[in-house]
């Protein structure tokens, strides 16, 4: 029988007016990878904050037993001293400092307050070797990719003598290769006896690495499953998370595809900072009426750059190529003109590029189409509210009122708000860049339904996604990109994860 390293017993945590956790139990065995699953807002992060001391002892009820000792953490430092280290979804590295400085930040190797650089560099080298990162300890963190940064975070945790590593959505911003690396690393550390808790929305990853899992729903622990014994598969997990069978993860749709309404020809874009580098190289694509066209590619393949350069030259320099819309050549010299001519772009970075979090929902929804609610220069506030209210109902944005601040909504509802904004601008062509990133399964389904409805209305949809099942489930046709070029075009019938992956890693043919 394996030992239990962590036991959280009937944890209850209340915020003013909301019971975030009620009687949650969690048991993690020594040397296992334990997955924590649940929809957004189910209480996973809150539970981990209780565990790591972000919410100090006394602000919750229930007991935490770690290594058979009752723990009452007052802050993160105390939990880290015991060997509980959490790696957050948003990496907490300082870009301008070196890898070594980051790894020992707040934990410096020093004598009398003076840092021992030799020792620091040596230890860093050892740690980097352990996590399989071939970089000099003196490389600045800003100069390495996200995948490598994630490895630095893990090295940082190792430097703290971690016994229980908590990873919150560790692969959310990683491409397939880096994710694979990271998961292998986790399995390797498990071999050395480290325990881990992994929060993830990527069910295939959980299926692959986890030994057991706990499902949390609406602030309660629903069940704990042993992956092997209980024969857990993805459908089983989803059922537990949403509390119902989700037999079909992608809504039914009978595509009604018409004539070609949008074409991009020989599109070439240079990198804004490195004038000689082509970010997009001679890309041509087309979209037909009512069609959902996917764009697959690894991170850095140039998908977002392609979308943004088309959308009113919001990215890149020295852009060349032709855009033909409804049979006529058009120019989008800036975003304003692109929107006026029926384009919409839903950014992958919802908070950074999509929303104004401090403004209310109605202002966010109407921002791209103020002309529609204005007489001359003056906004009709009543009309604005009515329109926003319509979209709140239509897209089922869960909020008491459109006067709520955008920042108060959950990820899925924020995404619905962004979609509302762009549907309200009445585009013919919608470019959706990772529209379901960081959104729970239930909300994803709703977003898919919205996308299908838009296609059924005769709009053309370009769907950029890193989740291959999503592309396979939603698209009529998929373009695959690598290194700024299109390396393949696959119809729904031919498409499979394997074919997409093959094109995604295919080197471009020069000529």
């Amino acid at each position: 029988m394996t030992n239990v390293i962590l036991e959280m017993r009937s944890i209850t945590k209340e915020f003013p007016g909301v019971k975030a956790l009620s009687n949650v139990n969690l048991q993690v065995k020594q040397g296992e990878i334990h997955a924590l699953c649940g929809e957004n807002g189910a209480g996973k992060s809150t539970l981990m904050k209780v565990l790591s001391g972000v919410y100090p002892h006394g602000s919750y009820t229930g007991d935490i037993l770690f290594d058979n000792e009752v723990c009452e953490f007052k802050n993160i430092r105390q939990s880290e001293e015991r060997g509980i280290v959490i790696i957050h979804q948003e990496l907490a590295l300082i870009p301008y400092l070196s890898i070594a400085e980051n790894i020992f930040l707040g934990n410096e190797i020093s004598r009398n307050g003076v840092i021992d650089w030799n020792e620091t560099m040596m230890r860093t080298k050892e740690l980097l070797q352990k996590v399989g990162l071939k970089e000099s300890p003196q490389t600045k963190v800003e100069d390495i990719g996200v995948g490598k940064q994630q490895l630095v975070e893990i090295a940082k945790a190792l430097a703290k003598d971690v016994k229980l590593l908590i990873l919150d959505e560790p692969t959310a911003s990683l491409n397939e290769n880096d994710s694979e690396n990271l998961l292998n690393l986790l399995l390797e550390f498990k071999g050395y006896g480290m325990s881990a808790i992994m929060i993830s929305h990527k069910l295939n990853e959980i299926e692959r690495v986890a030994d057991s899992m706990t499902i949390i729903r609406d602030g309660q622990s629903i069940e704990t499953l042993d992956m092997k014994k209980d024969n857990v598969n993805q459908d089983r997990i989803i059922k537990g998370m949403v509390g119902r069978d989700l037999t079909n993860r992608y809504p039914e749709r009978t595509p009604k595809i018409g004539e070609t309404i949008f074409e991009v020809e020989n599109w070439t874009v240079y990198h804004p900072a490195h004038a000689e580098r082509k970010a997009i190289d001679n890309v041509s694509l087309n979209i037909r009426r009512g069609e959902i066209v996917g764009v697959a590619g690894l991170m850095g393949a140039g998908r977002t750059e392609l979308a943004m350069s088309i959308f009113g030259k919001a990215y890149g320099k020295k852009i060349s190529g032709r855009i033909v819309k409804n049979g006529k050549e058009v120019q989008f010299p800036n975003v304003t003109s692109a929107i006026k001519q029926g384009m919409a772009y839903v950014s992958e970075d919802r908070k950074g590029n999509g929303l104004i979090l401090m403004e209310d929902i109605k202002q966010n929804i109407t921002l791209a189409s103020l002309d529609k609610i204005s007489k001359g220069p003056v906004i009709d506030a009543n009309k604005e509210r009515i329109e926003a209210e319509n979209y709140r109902k239509k897209l089922r944005i869960k909020t008491p009122s459109v006067l709520q601040k955008a920042g108060n909504l959950s990820g899925g509802n924020q995404q619905k708000m962004v979609l509302s904004k762009w549907i309200f601008s009445e585009p013919d062509i919608l470019i959706l860049d990772e529209p379901t990133r960081g959104i729970d399964v239930g909300a994803k389904y709703e977003i898919y339904s919205i996308i299908n409805e838009l296609a059924a209305e005769g709009k053309g949809i370009l769907l950029i996604s890193s989740e291959l099942p999503e592309l396979l489930g939603m698209c009529d046709r998929v373009y695959v990109m690598n290194e700024g070029s299109i390396t393949g075009e696959v119809t729904k019938e031919e498409a499979s994860q394997e074919t997409l992956m093959m094109y995604m890693t295919k080197q471009k043919v020069r000529g």
Binding site: V18, R217, D218, G243, R244, F311, G312, A314, N334, V335, T336, A338, I339, K340, Y345, S347, G352, N353, G354, L355, I356, L357, M358, E359, Q363, L367, A368, L370, D371, S374, P377, V378, I379, A381, N382, R385, I386, K398, T399, P400, K421
Partner: protein, 400 residues
Amino acid sequence: MQSHAQKERNYSSLQPESPIKQLFKNNMRQYSMIFALIVIMLLFQVLTSGLLLQPLNITNLILQNSYILILAIGMMLVIITGHIDLSVGSIAAFVGAISAILMVNYEMSTFGAVAISLLVGAAIGAWQGFWVAYVKIPAFIVTLAGMLLFRGLTMIVLEGKSIAPFPETFQKMSSGFIPDGSAANVVTLLIGAALSVALVITQLKARRTQKKFDFDVQSKGLFMLKLVGMVVLLNVFTYVLASYEGIPNVLILLGILIIVYTYVMKKTKAGRHIYAIGGNEKAAQLSGIKTKQMTFWVFVNMGVLSALSGLIFAARLNAATPKAGNLFELDAIAACFIGGASAYGGIGTVPGAIIGGLVMGIMNNGMSLLGLGIDWQQGIKGLVLLAAVAFDIYNKNKAA
């Protein structure tokens, strides 16, 4: 499914709070500012044994603070876009000097000189806006350079000396009253009454349309109370002014600026664009807002208002001096932050800037009446600025 229904119920349970509590919750920031202003006013009213709210002193207060308030309006726009302007005091001084040279040395007509001065202000604003919006140099640096540059230019064109006196028509801009006749009192009272009627009509109309669209409105009693309160306040104010010399010209100008800018920021697309840029420039740009162009015009606007402020200050002083406008920028910036602007952009209102400006102005005036030295005044003002912003952040943290 069940969980969704449960959530819906939770939301609806938020609604039935007592209306007064709701009102205060939603407008906490606004009310706390007004409340602070009233407390400071009453405090100095008591400390100065009633001197503060004498008709003469109220008129003085308006005349003394008009140029800061004008700057604060422009500064609020700059701060909402997420920038800052340190050069406004120097621009005011420079434009004042230009106007003096035009009117005194070249004997140009008041109208022509004022028009040229405002254009100079616009050109200076365009100069700074260009560097901030298109070259993307941080506004702090551009306007710090502007502060030095235009202070230097002021001293150069004035050759280190003051120029005086201005023609009488120009002085009237700042020191005149409406109308300059024996019937001043009646006209002032009439203006107060006319404004009251306009206020009541617009408020009633707004409430009626809100009701028509089935939006939640304040309870009738509360609404009437607020309306009556505003009308009484307005008429007491005009009565007090009438019992001295009437409404100062500069107050009319200020009133128009406040109304126009409040309207622009609250009701127009331009205002919405400015808030959006400050809230999230990238998102604003990807929503089709011409962020660079808008930022540029916000600085042009600041230049024009700095010029106006400089003219009014010169007219009040009846001289253009090399030291004019010294530290005006800091008073204007302080007014905005006391009035609820966010240092990160995206948040703030024009009435807030005015209230913040009045807090500063009343403290200046009150402390001077008490005979406090400039040393103590500076120190106390600094603490009040810090306290106001600390209070604001405390409130926000509590709300979150």
